[in-house]
Structure formats: structure tokens, C-alpha cells
Symmetry: C2
Subunit: 106 residues, 2 copies
């Protein structure tokens, strides 16, 4: 079982949950009301998000408030930055090529 942020955000419902929790902490029932899915289905998504270390829970009586661990989202950005760095490098190499072509022209 792979459990990382990329897996976490692969599902549209889970992305929606992340968005909901970005606004405010919520109980599973409150989340489920925002979708057409059942409470159970939402609960399973929550479980995965917890396993991905993206959610924290706080029991409050018979309810559970789930809070987003926003810092986890940085991992996506970190990966994107690595990607962009590679792309930039590529362009620099292209620059080098163009420069060399210019030199040859002279």
C-alpha cells in the first residue's frame, strides 16, 4: 500500500476534502453533506488522508474534528520545484547551444 501525498490527492473527492478542510476543521458528517457520496465513503477517504499524514483528528465528545496538516502540502510544491529546476536547466542548456551556434557564426 503506497501512502504519500500524491496518492492522497489522486482522488477528486479527497482533493475536495482537502479544500474543505483548508477553510475550516470539520467532522466526517459535515464533510459528507458537501458531497453526493455516503458518510462511509467519505470516512474511507478520511482514513487514507490520515494514513498519508495529511489530517489530524481531535475527539470532541461523540464527534471527531479533522484538521488539515497544511505543511504536508509543501511536499507537492517541493516536487514541483524540483521539476521546474530541471526544466530551467534544460533551457539553460538550450541557451548554451544557441550561444555556441552564435560563436560559430562569427
Amino acid at each position: 500500500m503506497r501512502r504519500d501525498i500524491f496518492q492522497a490527492i489522486a482522488d477528486p473527492t479527497r482533493r475536495a476534502i482537502v479544500m474543505l478542510l483548508a477553510v475550516q476543521a470539520m467532522t466526517p458528517n459535515a464533510m459528507a453533506e458537501h458531497f453526493y457520496t455516503s458518510r462511509q465513503a467519505v470516512s474511507k477517504h478520511i482514513r487514507i488522508l490520515v494514513e498519508c499524514d495529511l489530517l489530524e483528528q481531535e475527539q470532541q465528545g461523540r464527534e471527531i474534528q479533522y484538521t488539515l496538516r497544511a505543511s504536508k502540502m509543501n511536499e507537492i510544491e517541493k516536487w514541483l520545484d524540483q521539476f521546474k529546476a530541471l526544466m530551467a536547466k534544460r533551457f539553460n542548456q538550450l541557451d548554451d547551444v544557441l550561444k555556441r551556434l552564435k560563436e560559430k557564426k562569427k
Copy 2:
């Protein structure tokens, strides 16, 4: 079958392929040499990436060069930005709350 960028980058091998292609276009065989996976497995990942509209192919004799459609990656960033916007809003609301508390103190 869901086919979007989030699905595309959910798999670690596919993320690696994206990174490879970020540096330079490649044939399936060239990609496979970078992993411990078989050519066929890589080929299946390529297929998914193509279906996600993340790769372009150009036949060159009996080889196929796959090129990354880097612009597709923006969709991830776009989603991340939406997320950040929601978080920022949340903090602004928190600011409002703190402000109001201050007012009351007076």
C-alpha cells in the same frame, strides 16, 4: 477510467518519467534503462501519461521520441494556488477574529 494530471503523477515511476522527460525527450527503451522495471511496464506508464495529455510522441524511424508537454504541469500549480488562496482566506478570518478580540479588550 479517470485520466487527469493528479492520476498521472500518483505513481512514483510516472513521476520519475516526468522528471526524465523534463531534462530531454526520450524513447521508451531509454527511459526503461533508468529504472529496474521492464520496457513493457514503462510502456504502460507512457500510455497513461499520453492519455493524460502529458506526453507528445514523434515517430522517428522505428523509434518514438516522447516529449513532455510541460504546460500540463501548470494544472497542479493552479490547484495548489487555489488551495493556498483558501488557506490565506482562513488566516484572514483568523486575523478578523483577533482584531475583534482586541476591540473588545478596549
